[in-house]
């Protein structure tokens, strides 16, 4: 027998196979697209076609509603791993000139002794995001905001490249190194806290997260408290606010003093 005899409804096997398959498909389609949508009393459909479209997953436009006015600005910075990729030498040079006005707080070599963040060797994406947020008002600080307000996009990119280009100098470490606290290494899974180290160094780094080793203890503690109280809110999707709110005061102390006591070359080794 040749195949031509198979693909005809005169062949019993063909008609049975096609018939049963089609019947199952039709029955399940009726159940899935008509019966089940209407079996959900809590969902209202305008008509049968509306129900079918809903079951098929036709993309629907949300009804036009007026978005309530945001009382505070949120961060609008988009970061990808290609943001600020491949800095130019000229850009770094321009950044160095611009950075002179930052030196009073962040130190002439990007290493601060005034409880401001150390910027030397910080990831470019981090400085870029914070400057944009200061400029837009998503993050505010009495000292920082006036500096950022008048910066152009190019200047922000140049400053980011310049500080990322500087070597991570050993910071001022008043305390001896501490053992790794569990909040840094394990987080607290039952409270939804990821390990600090999975984004901020010691384990791994994620884009947009600053490396924290050698930063000022007072500064880190103040930021965690600001996140917890909602005073600082430029973290995307409340990532840091959710974490900081769930942290105990002891954990905040431990994390801040641990990172402050780490020399930055530990980060180099992990990278």
């Amino acid at each position: 027998m040749s195949t031509s005899e198979l693909f005809t409804f005169r062949n019993r096997h063909f008609s049975l196979a096609v018939g049963i398959t089609a019947a199952i498909l039709i029955v399940t389609a009726i159940a899935g697209f008509l019966v089940l949508p209407f079996a959900q009393p809590w969902v209202q459909f305008a008509n049968v076609w509306d129900a079918i479209c809903s079951a098929a997953g036709v993309p629907q436009r949300a009804p036009k509603v007026t978005v309530p006015e945001q009382s505070t600005r949120l961060s609008e910075v988009v970061l990808t791993s290609s943001t600020l990729a491949r800095p130019s030498q000229e850009g770094i040079g321009r950044g160095a000139t611009l950075a002179q006005r930052c030196a009073i707080c962040h130190g002439p070599t990007g290493v601060s002794r005034a409880d401001s963040p150390n910027l030397a060797g910080q990831y470019a994406a981090v400085i870029y995001k914070q400057l944009l947020d200061f400029r837009s008002g998503a993050r505010t600080n009495a000292v920082m905001s006036p500096f950022a307000v008048n910066l152009t996009d190019q200047e922000i990119a140049d400053l980011s490249h310049y500080y990322a280009y500087l070597p991570r100098l050993p910071a001022y470490h008043p305390t001896p190194q501490l053992p790794k606290p569990s909040i840094v290494i394990y987080g607290a899974p039952m409270r939804g806290i990821a390990p600090c180290g999975s984004c901020h160094g010691s384990l791994d780094n994620k884009i947009g997260s600053p490396w924290l080793e050698g930063q000022s203890e007072a500064y880190m503690k103040a930021q965690l408290q600001a996140f917890a109280s909602g005073e600082r809110r430029n973290d995307i999707s409340q990532q840091m606010r959710n974490i900081a709110r769930a942290m105990t005061p002891q954990e905040i102390d431990q994390a801040a003093s641990y990172y402050a006591s780490q020399p930055p070359d530990v980060v180099k080794a992990v990278d």
């Binding site: 096997h13 196979a17 089940l36 997953g57 791993s81 039952m190 990278d271």
Partner: protein
């Protein structure tokens, strides 16, 4: 008639060698995230290992077994030399090249994306290219199986295709079409992003395309096992296949209903409509049909063997079975694991029950029980059965073989039952670390510890398996005679064209794929604004 023994042996040895490595990694993973291991402090190493384990166990190992077994079936069942031996070797070397290419980025920590890829996570491009090479190598096998059957048909016009070859070719067609989903995902979506040509990816569409492959691939893994049930076991225990037609119907049913069901993996995904999820759920229920047919037919075939050996009574015949025969033991273990795994599967495929176990350790337990248990134990059986014919030497130590099968069975139960249990308790899967010191999950520590011990039993069994095969290469020479497949009670003299060819069933398979996947894929592909930025592994 096994002529190209070297080719078949090469496939089996490579399969079992990579299996051994991946099994060791698996046992280590069980240990390291259990309460008895000390946490590594680096989750990246865990995911690196998990990616290697999944990639080898999901793509390389079963594909090589299916290919090696397929070549053996083609020569032994059709009684003709393999046509296209050079192509077969080319396919083999493509798989070797692909595996090496994929493993290097994994080992360097550049592709810790797990074998299911999980876009928008993007790893090193060579990882994906390696997987593509493995699939291309296996497609050569698909083509060769088809060509060999065609050559045989020309020489034997109208004759019934031997059952083993009929099933083997059905399995190869299933794989060819199944792999298309992941191939589309890799070639159109992931590789352009991994190569840096694009920086965004439609993760929802990618998941739907992967579901096309992800469920039917299980039936591709299952095919050698089912072929062994029907065509090796009855012969090995001295019985006959109860019904040749029933066997053919089971295999063609797999071809038709294995494909359009994958969306039960996306029940929790918002981008797929509920109506399509329901249709996929209903078709998944239909897969029980060929399995129940098989369980019935094989139990009947085994009963024939028992009664031929003098078994009596309603159940008394069970005692008369040759329980010291490794093949009998493997079949029984495989059926028990298939029964439990299948029952668990009914929960996964139910649209609403799935919600309670979605993304928990239950799922990991389920697919290890079905694949690692019911399927892989028959891979062992296939190797034991073929080995004397491939090496020309006898496997003498049946006791060691029985021990190995027992260890695998016990190990798999000890591993997967607690796994299911903690899944019901809500333990998520794909986690590198659990703090069992926390009172909320401390009661699960015992179950997880048992599970890890099961992992070591499996490792012991795996090592034993490789030792047995290696010793089989150096045993005294013995002629095993021609390789035979089981005969049916009524050997078919004529078979209806529908059950002797695959055309109708392949057509139905493709048609159902179009009806069940066409609309969701098209809407997602044509919708604007559904892509998200890629997240590169290891990127700062």
């Amino acid at each position: 008639m096994l002529v190209n023994r070297k080719l078949i042996l090469a496939h089996f040895w490579l399969a079992f060698a990579v299996f051994g490595i991946a099994l060791t990694l698996g046992a280590w993973q069980m240990f390291i995230r259990s309460p008895i291991g000390t946490w590594l402090s680096n989750p990246e190493l865990y995911y690196r290992s998990l990616t290697a384990h999944g990639t080898v166990m999901g793509y390389v190992f079963p594909t090589l077994v299916a290919m090696g077994f397929g070549y053996a079936i083609s020569e032994a069942a059709l009684q003709q030399r393999l046509v296209g031996v050079r192509w077969a070797w080319a396919g083999f070397w493509l798989i070797v090249a692909g595996s090496v290419m994929a493993v290097i980025p994994i080992a360097l920590g550049r592709a810790s994306v797990l074998y299911t890829f999980y876009p928008p996570l993007i790893g090193n491009v060579f990882y994906y290219l390696g997987v593509v090479l493995v699939v291309v190598g296996s497609w050569i096998w698909v083509a060769l199986m088809s060509v060999n059957l065609r050559v045989w048909r020309k020489a034997h016009p109208g004759a019934p295709v031997p059952l083993a070859m009929f099933a083997n070719v059905a399995g190869s067609y299933l794989w060819a079409w199944t792999a298309v989903g992941a191939a589309l995902e890799l070639l159109l979506q992931i590789i352009p992003v991994a190569a840096g040509l694009k920086s965004t990816i439609d993760a929802g569409l990618a998941r739907v395309l992967f579901s096309w492959t992800l469920h039917a691939i299980v039936y591709f893994w299952l095919m050698p096992t089912y072929i062994a049930y029907y065509t090796i076991v009855p012969r090995a225990i001295g019985g006959r296949v109860y019904s040749d037609s029933m066997a053919r119907i089971s295999f063609i049913l797999f071809l038709v209903v294995a494909m359009p069901i994958g969306m039960h993996h996306t029940f929790a995904d918002p981008q797929v409509g509920a109506g399509f999820k329901f249709i996929h759920s209903a078709f998944t229920a239909l897969v029980a049909l060929p399995t129940l047919l098989t369980v019935f037919t094989i139990c009947a075939s085994v009963e024939i063997a028992a009664r031929l050996r003098g078994g009596r009574g309603l159940f008394g015949w069970i005692r008369a079975l040759p329980w010291d025969n490794p093949m009998m033991l493997a079949l029984a273990f495989s059926f028990v694991m298939l029964g439990f795994g299948g029952a668990g599967g009914l929960i996964n495929m139910s649209y609403q029950l799935d919600a309670s176990i979605h993304n928990t350790q239950w799922i990991t337990g389920h697919f290890h029980l079905i694949f690692g248990g019911a399927i892989v134990i028959m891979y062992f059986a296939i190797a034991y059965d073929l080995w004397p014919h491939l090496t020309g030497r006898e496997l003498i130590d049946l006791r060691l073989i029985r021990t190995q099968l027992w260890l695998w069975f016990v190990g798999m139960i000890v591993t997967t039952f607690p796994w299911h249990w903690v899944g019901i308790l809500g333990m998520p899967r794909r986690m590198a670390y659990f703090d069992f010191g926390d009172p909320a999950i401390a009661p699960q520590a015992l179950s997880v510890t048992f599970s890890a011990i099961g992992g070591f039993i499996l490792l012991a069994s795996g090592i034993l398996f490789i030792v047995i095969l290696a010793r089989g290469m150096r045993a005294p020479r013995a002629d095993a005679g021609p390789y035979q497949f089981a005969l049916a009670v009524h050997q078919p003299t004529t078979v209806p064209v529908a059950l002797n060819t695959h055309g109708l069933w392949v057509a139905l398979m493709i048609a159902l794929t179009l009806t069940n996947y066409g609309y969701p894929i098209l809407t997602l592909a044509l919708s604007e604004g559904t892509s998200v930025p890629a997240v590169y592994v290891g990127a700062q």
